[in-house]
C-alpha cells in the first residue's frame, strides 16, 4: 500500500473530497470475523463467528447484550466496541431512569453515530475501528441497524460485516424476500446459513465458535453460546456431523 500526503489524520480532505483515515478505519472492520443480522416482522437475530487467539485461549466476545430489549454484534477492534457498548448501556439506562421506557434503537444508533462523527472531524482523535450491528425490538417493532466507523448508520433488513462477509451478504440478498415472514426458527437458520457461507471451505460452525443473539416481540434479547446453540446448529445443518459424541473435550484439534 502506498502512502499519500492526505492520509495522516482524519481532519484532512484529499483533493477528491475523501478522508483516508476514515477509509482505513473501515478496513479494520474487514479484519474482524464475520457477523450477520436479520429481522423479520416479529424477531431480530444476530449471529457471529468467534475466533480464538490460540488453541488454549478463550474465544472472542462477538455479541454483547446491551439492554433487555437489544444487543450488538461487532466486527473489528473489540476494545473500541467496548467503549461504544458501555456508552450504549449508559444511554439505555438513562432512558429507563428518566422516562421509564426502553430506548428506541434508532435513537441509540444515532447517538453512537454522532460520537463517531466527532472522531472524524477533530484532530487528535482517530475514528473508531469497529463496525456494529445493532438488533432488537422497541416500541416500533423489530429493527436492525448497521454502524460504520465513518458514523454512517443504516437501517437494514439484513446485513453482514467483517472478513469475507460478501459471501454472507450474497446469501442474504438471495433470500431477502423470505425474511419478513420468517418464524423465529427459520430466521435463526437463515442467519446460521449465511454465516456458514462466509466461512473458509474447511471450517465448520461449532458450539465453540458460534454466537447467536435473538429478541422478539414480547421476548427479551437472549445470547446463545456453547451447548445452548447445539440444537440450532443441528437443525440448521442436519446432514452435517457435529462434534464427536464422547470424550469431546479438548480432543478435537483445529486443522489450522
Amino acid at each position: 500500500m502506498f502512502r499519500n500526503n492526505y492520509d495522516n489524520d482524519s481532519v484532512t480532505f484529499s483533493p477528491q473530497g475523501r478522508i483516508f483515515q476514515v477509509e482505513y478505519a473501515q478496513e479494520a472492520v474487514k479484519q474482524g470475523s464475520v457477523v450477520v443480522g436479520i429481522v423479520s416482522k416479529t424477531h431480530a437475530v444476530l449471529a457471529a463467528i468467534k475466533r480464538n487467539a490460540e488453541e488454549l485461549s478463550s474465544y472472542q466476545k462477538k455479541v454483547i447484550p446491551i439492554d433487555t430489549h437489544y444487543g450488538v454484534a461487532l466486527a473489528g477492534l473489540a476494545s473500541d466496541a467496548r467503549v461504544l457498548s458501555n456508552f450504549m448501556r449508559q444511554q439505555s439506562l438513562s432512558s429507563r431512569l428518566t422516562y421509564d421506557r426502553p430506548i428506541l434503537l434508532s435513537d441509540i444508533t444515532s447517538r453512537i453515530a454522532d460520537r463517531a462523527q466527532t472522531n472524524t472531524q477533530q484532530y487528535g482523535r482517530r475514528p473508531y475501528g469497529v463496525g456494529l450491528l445493532i438488533a432488537g425490538v422497541d416500541a416500533r417493532g423489530p429493527h436492525l441497524f448497521e454502524f460504520q466507523p465513518s458514523g454512517v448508520t443504516q437501517e437494514m433488513v439484513a446485513c453482514g460485516i467483517g472478513a469475507r462477509s460478501q459471501m454472507a451478504r450474497t446469501y442474504l440478498e438471495r433470500n431477502l424476500d423470505e425474511f419478513e415472514g420468517s418464524s423465529r426458527e427459520e430466521l435463526i437458520r437463515h442467519a446460521l446459513r449465511s454465516l456458514k457461507e462466509s466461512l473458509a471451505q474447511d471450517k465448520e460452525l461449532t458450539v465453540d465458535n458460534t454466537s447467536l443473539g435473538i429478541s422478539g416481540i414480547g421476548e427479551d434479547f437472549k445470547l446463545y453460546e456453547g451447548q445452548d446453540i447445539a440444537e440450532f446448529l443441528e437443525t440448521t445443518f442436519e446432514n452435517k456431523e457435529q462434534e464427536p459424541a464422547a470424550g469431546g473435550e479438548g480432543m478435537e484439534v483445529d486443522d489450522s
Partner: protein
Amino acid sequence: MNHFPVGWGRPRDDVYGAYNPSYLPQSHGGTQANPITHTQSPIVTGTSVLAIKYKDGVVIAADNLASYGSLARFTDVKRLKQFNRKAVVGFGGDVSDMQYLDRLLNSLDVEENYGGDAPAESGPHMSAKNLHAYLSKVMYKRRSDFNPLWNAMLVAGLDESDKPFLAYADLLGTTYSSPSLATGFGAHLAQPIMRRAVPNEAASRELSKEQAVECIKECMKVLFYRDARSMPVYSIAVIDGKGVDLKEDEKLENQSWAFAEQIRGYGTQTV
C-alpha cells in the same frame, strides 16, 4: 452573646491560640458568604386539580383562576396543558413555575417530534406514564437542590399500551397513583366524593365517560362552594383513544347555595 461558638466560654487565647472562625459567615468574623436561599413560598397560585379514570380514559379539570395571596388576580389562566394526544398535565401551585414547566415540556415535545424514521401512524412515543416519570424526576432533582418548583401536578392520559393512566407529582418529588386524584384543597374536599364513584381500579374500569365527567363537574362545584381561592370558570379535558378533548371556558351549572343557610360561626350571626 449569641449562639456562635466565638462567644462561648473558651480556654485562654494566649495559651491555646485564637478560635478559628473561618467557617462562619462574614458577619461573624468568618469567610463564608451567607447561606444561599431559594423559593420559600409560592407567589401567584392556582388551586386544586381533579382527575378521575374511567373505562376508556381519564377526565381532568382545574379552574381558570390565578390568585395573588387572597386576591383573585388573573381569571383567564389555563392550568391544563396538553402535551400530545396521549397526555395532559394539570398544574396546581405557583403559576410562574407552571410557565417554566410548560416551556420545558414544549421543548421536550419539539425533541420528541424530530421524528427521524418514525412512521406517522405509530403515534406519540411519549405516553402519559413516560411524561410522569420525567416530570417527577425534574421535581425530585429540584427539591434535592433545595430549589423546588412549587407545584402539585396531575398527569392524565394513556400509558404505552393505551390504558388509562393517572398519577400525581409534587414539589417534594412525591409521586402516587390512584383511580381518582386531587391536588391541594381538592384532596380533602373532592377526593371523598370521587372515591364514592371509583373506590378501586375495578370500579374505574366500569365507569362511563358521562359518569366520570358528571362526577368531576359535581366536585368542581363543591370546591367552588368551599374553596375561597376558586372561581366558577374552569377547564376540563377528556383523554381517550381518540385523543384529547380540551375545553377551557366551562362554567359551573346549577349552583345551589342553600347549604350556606346552615353555616354558623362566621360573619355577623350571633346564634
